[in-house]
Symmetry: C2
DNA sequence: CGATGAAGTTAGTAATCAATCACTTACTAC
DNA sequence: GTAGTAAGTGATTGATTACTAACTTCATCG
């Protein structure tokens, strides 16, 4: 009763609360009562805004899509160089996941995979969009002569996406104990290096090895302490 | 009542049924009643074998671990060449996931992430083990001069793991409509090529591009039709 | 200012869930 | 063969779930 709000505003509140709680409780265990309590409403009030729980999930998925697209759009005001932009894109993706960590769980929830086919389609499209953008950046970098051209940009994009997802899973499993964008940036530099110019076939000097570690990327040069737990 | 079995046998049956159903229903929605019905028992009988549902999940995780380790062990009778063995390892991983598709869902279930910390530790160890094995193979390949030495084998292993996980997610999202080990083999060849010798800095001829596509790997040379849905 | 519609509440429902109970039946060692 | 034990049953419980219906209160606009 305290502070009655417009439907749109409430809906948004509910969706955000759902995202927050989906991480704590798990998407498939998240009850409408929890969400309502978190927003400060009665459980019944939720159904004023979403007739079925599935409708709420659909709204959540839409919101996630918006978040992604919004960040992708912001990148266009970022660096123009395709390699730099690729770094920025992966960083944006990981930053978003770090601040909305329910996303991976939702991606594998049963709400998505068996209950709500529309949801699966939305995420498939989102991932396709992500893949397309990466593919384009890699293509551009290849045209610029910054990446080798004998790697299919579509496959390269799959590898970059895999990098992101592998990293996120590792991060989840070891209790989110490292900085996601930082480690992602470091790994991406490694991946792009292999996409890049040929290495000397000679043995690498200890110096070059150290250099690679301390300045893996032209854009960001922080040394990331390795996580020891996953080896 | 029909055909009373030993506890060990029953436990195994229950665990396998859980794995089967966790894929259909989702790990967090899987009820003891469903499992019991699938095995041909009453719901109460389940608690004769597992005092708590969590204990059942623990047994399931142990079983998954066994499956992995068993396949890894089998690899030691496989190819000796580290690159070939790497291919075999990734193929084994993907074959197992294809035949036990509940695994990725369990990996992101809330049973694992919030309810059952022991479970998370088990999977983290499993993944660590996988990473270590890949790292060793890459190290060996580097020593043999088959892979470039300026890539940290630990990072390279993370990239390979990411390849697997990205692939599995894509496979899940588009409805499991491609052959997992086959596409994995193809992508791994691409990844390892970038880990390999330098490409010619010259522009690739159309011929070299075609050649790469039709025979990406020395070990397996099947062309895999691309999935169009995720781009 | 007052009516009207939307936002929110209280109080339910039927369904489903893990877990426990007292009890019965099958197998096995002696 | 029979005593002891382990596997399995039927019934039930208390908690939780999504969802509904009837009622109340707020805000705003004519």
């Amino acid at each position: 009763m305290r502070s009655r709000k417009s439907a749109e505003e409430r809906k948004s509140e509910i969706v955000e609360a759902t995202l927050r709680l989906a991480d704590k409780v798990g998407p498939d265990r998240l009850a409408t009562g929890h969400i309502a309590e978190s927003v400060g409403l009665t459980q019944a009030a939720l159904f004023r805004h979403f007739r079925k729980k599935q409708d709420l999930w659909k709204a959540v998925a839409t919101r996630i899509g918006e978040k992604f697209r919004q960040r992708w759009l912001a990148l266009e005001r970022g660096p123009a160089d395709p390699v730099d932009r690729l770094h920025a894109m992966v960083a944006a993706q990981l930053t978003l996941i770090q601040s909305t960590p329910a996303i991976p769980a939702i991606l594998f929830s049963r709400e998505l995979h068996v209950e709500n086919r529309a949801l699966r389609v939305m995420f498939a499209e989102l991932m396709g969009n992500f893949h397309g953008r990466i593919e384009q950046l890699i293509s551009a970098a290849q045209r610029d002569g910054k990446l080798r051209r004998d790697v299919d940009p579509r496959d390269a994009a799959f590898l970059v996406i895999g990098l992101v997802q592998g990293l996120v899973l590792r991060w989840s499993l070891i209790g989110r104990s490292f900085d996601l964008p930082e480690e992602g940036d470091r790994l991406l530099a490694v991946q792009l290096a292999t996409f890049g110019r040929a290495p000397a076939t000679v043995e690498p000097s200890p110096a070059s090895r150290a250099r690679r570690r301390s300045a893996p990327s032209a854009t960001r040069a922080r040394v990331v302490k390795r996580s020891k737990s996953a080896s």
